[in-house]
């Protein structure tokens, strides 16, 4: 069995295509993709924040303080216009043709005296489809005017400061979270980690699985292997371990690469955050996560090998494996859905339960005793699939299709 494993690993490590998908891609490509996305989105946000916006006001004479305060900002420039408040088409066209970034229409009834005018509406015309800072900047000015007007009204009414607060916010809910940083961050990203690890394991195992099953048939080496004095279960288990090794290596290289690149790229506060987060996860939790991954990898490896052995050619094997990827993703996505917890029926769905358990381990909220049935049930499924794989490999109908 180890002879087969050793030979398969040597071949695997000499295959440029496999090495590319297993090591080079996770090490370079993913960081480039993710880094690129973060870089360009960050740059776009920064540009939007730094951009000076042009605006026009119709009926500005009814709210002179609003126009003045907006004009006073460095990031806003007032553009003169001859627009009429009731000509909505012309206003929209003014924004659409990018003569300005936004237009405010102040009604003739506008007044700073809240007690006489009540609630008032100012129309804001903007192109809200893209990334923009219009609403934020307008709100900052409007909030200031709102506050001043409210204060004037309260003074007129002779309302004390305490009552003012009560009128503005009758009920305040003060949140005291019992979740520590680890649980908080774990809840946010904890579901994504098993998803990523599972998919990468499967992806990393697919190419070697195709090569050492269907590939052997296609090259004409399988028959010579079958007539060596090695029991067939040893041959298939050797191949199974190779696929599992490739899957785990691929996942570990990717996660390691993303962690290292993440730390390098994030800098400053992010390093502290990641270091704190990682430091909060105990070595035992890491070991348990890895242990939970073992039967999952075994499930993937045995399924992939069974399909590969059945296929007549490399191409046919890839055709069988594509639906398997979709079938595998479904239970993992269930674990990502909001509100899904490691309780009830979800604790018994294969793969979903492992993904949820890994999330709980990352959060630090795992009931360790609950891991036992999950580990045992997943291991039983893995064991059954390995047994099926061995049985499958012994069938002449499968080997000599």
């Amino acid at each position: 069995m180890w002879l087969v494993f050793k030979k398969e690993v040597i071949e695997l490590l000499r295959d440029r295509k496999t090495l590319f998908f297993m090591i080079a891609l996770p090490l370079l490509f993913f960081p480039i993709i993710f880094g690129g996305v973060f870089y360009f989105s960050g740059k776009a946000i920064q540009e939007a924040q730094e951009k000076t916006l042009n605006f026009a006001v119709i009926g500005g004479e009814f709210a002179p303080n609003l126009t003045d305060q907006l004009s006073a900002r460095d990031d806003l420039t007032l553009v003169k216009n001859t627009l009429k408040g009731d000509d909505e088409a012309a206003i929209k066209d003014f924004v659409k043709t990018e003569k300005v970034d936004f237009v405010l229409v102040v009604p003739a009834t506008f007044s700073n005296d809240v007690l006489t005018s009540g609630q008032q509406t100012i129309m804001l015309y903007l192109n809200d489809a893209g990334l923009n800072m219009v609403q934020r900047r307008v709100n900052e000015v409007v909030k200031e005017i709102e506050h001043t007007n409210q204060q004037s009204a309260f003074i007129t009414l002779g309302v004390s400061e305490a009552i003012q607060k009560g009128l503005l916010n009758p009920i305040v809910i003060e949140k005291v979270s019992t979740a520590d940083k680890r649980e908080d961050l774990g809840e946010k990203i904890g579901g994504f980690i098993p998803y990523l690890v599972f998919i990468l394991c499967l992806q990393g195992a697919m190419l070697p699985a195709t090569d050492i099953g269907a590939g052997e048939k296609e090259r004409g080496t399988l028959e010579t292997l079958l007539i060596t004095p090695i029991p067939r279960q040893d041959l298939v288990i050797g191949k199974f371990f190779t696929i599992a090794f490739a899957g785990v290596t691929s996942a570990m290289v990717t996660i390691g690469s993303m962690f290292v690149w993440g730390v390098l790229l994030a800098q400053g506060m992010a390093i502290k955050l990641i270091t704190e987060f990682m430091g909060a996860i105990s070595p035992i939790d890491f070991v348990l996560m890895f242990l939970m991954l073992v039967p999952v990898v075994a499930i993937f490896a045995s399924l992939l090998l069974s399909l590969s052995i059945y296929a007549r050619s490399f191409k046919e094997a890839q055709g069988y494996m594509t639906p398997l990827v979709f079938l595998t993703i479904i239970p993992i996505i269930i674990a990502l859905l909001p509100g899904i917890e490691l309780k009830g029926v979800y604790a018994w769905i294969p793969l979903t339960n492992v993904a949820l358990a890994m999330k709980e381990l990352i959060k630090g909220t795992m009931d360790y005793m609950a891991l036992i049935p999950i580990f045992v049930s997943t291991s039983v499924i893995a064991g059954l699939l390995i047994a099926f794989c061995v049985y499958w490999f012994k069938r002449e109908k499968v080997l000599f299709r």
Partner: protein, 256 residues
């Protein structure tokens, strides 16, 4: 010595509707089963080369696959130097060297690694493998490409490494399934010389082919199979005498 008696093998036809008209008319088709080999008998003694002949689809490859233990027979018996292949397949495999024209090599392993891998699978130790590779390198003239990866080998190079791989463990019997199919003249000559070498060493060789000139050159006995049954068994001279003309004519007479 190789002894085969009343060998039989059937395959389940997964989708009878997909069979061609000719396949439906084949007398070996019984319901959902295709009796590929129905009754094959022959014997090959030490130092003999047995030519296994038959038209395409006659059951030659299935017979050789059963002999090599790749397939399990449904009936009959196979004995290799007294060892029952069915009862002791792992022991029988130690005694068999198998080569076919379609046998491939592991492209990302060197010629030496390909041979050594099969030596290890046969339980040989590293020193014995190294000695055997040295011996085969001289015999088959492998030195110029032995350390190169086999993915870029020519057909002749591949076949020479395949021969070395098949006999690295000093098999007691050698089975060759159309080993010269698709080979050029030089590569074919390598195979023929290899078979002659085995014969000199008193190793029984079973050799399936469509090339009757090779049969004439190499074989002591001939077995003709058609529709899964032995149609002729005998020495090469008697076989030639069937028609009194060419081996081709004798072959046609043997299959009726």
């Amino acid at each position: 010595m190789i002894e085969i008696s009343h060998l039989a093998k059937k395959f389940k036809v997964e989708n009878p509707k997909k069979l061609s008209e000719q396949e439906r008319k084949d007398p070996r088709l019984h319901g959902k089963f295709f009796h590929s080999v129905q009754d094959v008998n022959f014997m090959c003694d030490h130092g003999q080369v047995l030519g296994l002949l038959g038209p395409n689809g006659a059951g030659k490859t299935t017979t050789l696959r059963m002999l090599s233990t790749a397939l399990a027979p449904d009936g009959g018996s196979i004995k290799i130097n007294g060892v029952d292949v069915l009862a002791n397949p792992l022991i029988a495999r130690q005694k068999i060297g198998f080569l076919s024209g379609s046998t491939g090599l592991y492209g990302r392993l060197t010629g030496r690694e390909n041979i050594a891998y099969f030596g290890r699978l046969h339980g040989m130790d590293e020193a014995a493998i190294a000695n055997k590779i040295d011996e085969l390198t001289e015999l088959l003239d492998l030195s110029t490409f032995l350390e190169r990866r086999s993915e870029n080998f020519s057909t002749g190079m591949k076949q020479r490494i395949s021969i070395a791989r098949a006999v690295v463990h000093d098999p007691e019997v050698v089975i060759l399934d159309e080993p010269t199919t698709g080979l050029d003249i030089m590569a074919t000559q390598t195979v023929i010389d290899f078979i002659k070498g085995l014969k000199d060493k008193q190793v029984p060789v079973i050799f399936s082919t469509h090339h009757l000139d090779e049969v004439e050159q190499l074989c002591d006995t001939v077995t003709v199979i058609d529709e899964g049954r032995t149609k002729y068994n005998g020495d090469i001279r008697s076989f030639a005498g069937l028609s009194g003309k060419t081996l081709h004519d004798s072959f046609m007479v043997s299959i009726g």
